[in-house]
């Protein structure tokens, strides 16, 4: 048996292939549906984002940056210069495509990842199964996921999201699990001793206390899905990655650089945004007294409502002007 095994190559590649084929055939209806709906959704979003006047968009991002960073100028200035640069390089619609791709894949990752994290924090057995899978997912080079993605969904933006999700999922799952497991034993006992149900414990104790850790995981997930964008362009996902890819293929250093820099600008803005939002959220729960808390919440609500109004007004103005 043993010599036999050494002599004969195990047909692992064949197995994986036939499993993938089987999945593709059996679930082709489902995959087709996801492909159509997903494509439609993302086209709509990109179209909407590109339809908004870039200057209005930049203004919103810059003002938002000013307020969420605690009225400091750093992030606002950076966003202003960075986004104007992207616009100047005529990469605006690529930027919006990339942003859509990152946003959707991060959302999907969070929607899948947080519940998975919760599950593995509640069950040692689930954790024992999920952890090695996550390890596997993270060590596998990202572009390997492109292959099944293409098999399932063909080419385009949906397989891009699919592979980004697989690639970017692990930190959210891990950090959710960790955050919940780190809730102090005595607090768990307190919640239990008063007769909390599972979901009461989850929503009143676990998630609020794990919030910061979970947010750190989500931040990492967003960054990972951004890094997957370039690779997704190999299977036809639109956006800045495509520019980088074609620059690489044609050895155009300049174009590659400009596209790459635009990606970096997007990455930094998203990263700082999520970090600041995270900080604000935890500051809210630690606010010294109710007055300060209320005031803070009012200001933030004001900013939010303000930006929505700006978007709507600009949309109307644009529609009227034709």
């Amino acid at each position: 048996m043993l010599p036999n095994m050494l002599l004969q190559q195990l047909p692992v590649a064949d197995w994986v292939e036939s499993i993938t084929n089987w999945l593709t055939n059996t679930l082709s209806g489902l995959f087709g549906f996801i492909q159509t709906v997903g494509q439609g959704l993302m086209d709509w979003m990109t179209n909407y984002l590109t339809w908004i006047n870039p200057f209005v968009m930049i203004a919103i991002v810059v003002i938002g940056a000013f307020f969420i960073s605690g009225r400091k100028l750093g992030l606002a200035t950076f966003s202003l210069i960075g986004l104007l640069f992207v616009l100047n390089q005529d990469l605006w619609s690529d930027l919006m495509s990339t942003f859509t791709l990152v946003l959707i894949s991060s959302l999907v990752s969070v929607v899948i990842g947080v519940p998975l994290g919760i599950w593995s924090s509640k069950s040692d057995r689930a954790q024992a199964v999920i952890t090695p899978i996550l390890d596997f997912m993270q060590t596998m080079p990202g572009f390997v996921y492109l292959i099944p993605a293409v098999a399932f969904f063909g080419i385009g933006v949906v397989p891009g999201v699919f592979s980004s999700v697989i690639f970017a999922l692990p930190p959210t799952v891990r950090m959710t699990n960790l955050g919940i497991r780190q809730v102090p034993e005595e607090l768990v006992e307190a919640a239990e001793s008063f007769g909390s149900t599972g979901s009461q414990r989850l929503f009143k104790l676990d998630l609020p206390l794990a919030k910061n850790t979970i947010m750190a995981g989500i931040n990492q997930t967003i960054m990972l899905s951004l890094s997957m964008v370039v690779m997704s362009s190999m299977i036809g996902a639109p956006g800045l990655g495509r520019g980088v890819l074609s620059a690489v293929q044609r050895a155009q250093v300049g174009t590659g650089f400009v596209n790459g820099i635009s990606l970096v600008i997007l990455a930094i803005i998203i990263d700082r945004y999520t970090q600041n939002i995270n900080r604000l959220m935890s500051a809210e729960s630690k606010a010294i007294d109710k007055d300060a808390k209320l005031k803070q919440m009012k200001v933030r609500r004001g900013v939010l409502i303000g930006s929505i109004v700006v978007i709507v007004v600009s949309a109307i103005v644009q529609a009227v002007m034709g």
Partner: protein
């Protein structure tokens, strides 16, 4: 009829329960059992009844199984064997829904490190039990507010736990448990993390509340003095097994075995040790120069609730409590008007035995003075420790030693 009846309650941590139990029956030591079976006997064959309105104290050294026992009573830990009857239900056997209902309505727990939810305000913490029972917000805030008023905490209701001192946090813990209006209160070393003065205050407060509320309280401590002060009856545990159950008097006068005897015996070092051996530096307030704000800040900094008031010569004038300082601050009157002059004083060579008699019922610590000048203070914890400490021989009676109060066994 007893409110809580524990029968043959046993908990073995680990896999080889049967083997471990066989070995306990053969009177093998805990260590040996752990080595042979890999299992720890947390509690073995505990039986007792607690009557309505009683404070039942469970006492023992660290690791003797106190926390395990109290957690078997509300089944935070699953029992290996035995039963816990509360109002006709066997907690060890009821299903999940019934257990939850019992926890929600019949018993509440107070924790050693307070177990307050850091993200919730004092009021939200206090209302937690009511909230998860589905009591309407207005109603539960009203009831939680009442509980907070009972413990003089209402003014802090919108603060977060981290903004309160340890003593106040534990009062919140108590308020949270009482807001539920349970029949049974389970208190696991509830006062052990507090410094001795606050601890005594809390003991007094608990006794006062108990007179009003007549709850059935199971109280855990590793402090003999606390047990004697609070307990209507006391259980002494060792290695998971109950050694004796009785009133404080019975335990002191007729110990059931040698272990209990050594546990409770009054060591005669009390005659040798004097005030200067066990006194601690006093937190002073110069009443001629310093006002209520300084007083409050100093108390907060030193984590104590009263200061010795002295004049410029360091001569003792009385005591300023936190309440007094707060009142003075609010009314704007002179602190001197709030001076409590009833503080007992002793000389530095008063023996521990004599101090004990003075301090036992004193509300304040005792000041050690010489020609009217403050040398230090003696707090109850140190006296008790000096009286109970088996290793008191090691104390060099010529030196002033800093006897740290016990800070809990975790």
């Amino acid at each position: 009829m007893p409110v809580v009846e524990v029968k043959n309650l046993t908990k073995v941590f680990g896999r080889k329960t049967k083997a471990a139990l066989e070995m306990v029956k053969d009177k093998k030591s805990k260590n040996e059992i752990l080595r042979k079976t890999g299992s720890t006997v947390g509690v073995y064959d505990a039986s007792f009844k607690v009557e309505k309105g009683e404070i039942f104290v469970i006492m023992g050294l660290s690791g003797s199984g106190k926390s395990t026992l109290i957690r078997l009573i509300n089944r935070l830990i699953e029992p290996t064997d035995g039963s816990v009857m509360v109002d006709g239900d066997d907690i060890a056997k009821v299903d999940k829904d019934k257990l939850r209902e019992i926890r929600r309505t019949k018993m509440s727990m107070v924790f050693q490190n307070f177990g307050l939810f850091p993200n919730r305000t004092i009021l939200e913490n206090t209302a937690y039990g009511l909230e998860i029972r589905g009591v309407e917000k207005e109603e539960r805030n009203k009831r939680a507010g009442e509980a907070l008023k009972n413990l003089h905490l209402y003014d802090f209701k919108d603060q977060l736990p981290s903004q309160l001192s340890g003593g106040m946090q534990q009062r919140v813990g108590l308020a949270r448990a009482l807001a539920n209006d349970p029949e049974v209160l389970l208190m696991d070393e509830a006062f052990s993390a507090l410094d001795p003065l606050i601890r005594k205050e809390m003991q007094d407060e608990l006794l006062e509340l108990q007179q009003k509320l007549q709850k059935t309280i199971i109280f855990i401590t590793h402090d003999l003095n606390e047990a004697l002060r609070l307990g209507d009856r006391i259980t002494i545990m060792r290695d998971g097994q109950i050694q004796q159950i009785g009133t404080g008097e019975e335990i002191l006068t007729t110990p059931a075995n040698d272990y209990v005897k050594t546990f409770v015996q009054d060591v005669d070092y009390s005659r040798v040790l004097t005030a200067q051996n066990i006194m601690e530096p006093a937190s002073l307030l110069n009443i001629q120069a310093e006002g209520p704000n300084i007083a409050l800040r100093r108390m907060k900094h030193d984590k104590i609730s009263m200061l010795l008031a002295v004049d410029r010569e360091r001569k003792l004038q009385g005591v300023i409590t936190a309440e007094a300082a707060r009142d003075a601050k609010n009314t704007g009157k002179d602190l001197v008007d709030y001076l409590d002059t009833s503080i007992p004083t002793i000389a530095k060579d008063t023996t521990v035995n004599d101090i004990f008699n003075i301090i036992y019922d004193a509300k304040t610590p005792v000041a050690v003075t010489e020609n009217g000048k403050v040398l230090g203070v003696v707090i109850r914890g140190s006296v008790i420790e000096a009286l109970a400490d088996e290793d008191a021989e090691s104390i060099d009676t010529n030196d002033i030693v800093d006897v740290q109060p016990e800070k809990g066994d975790k």
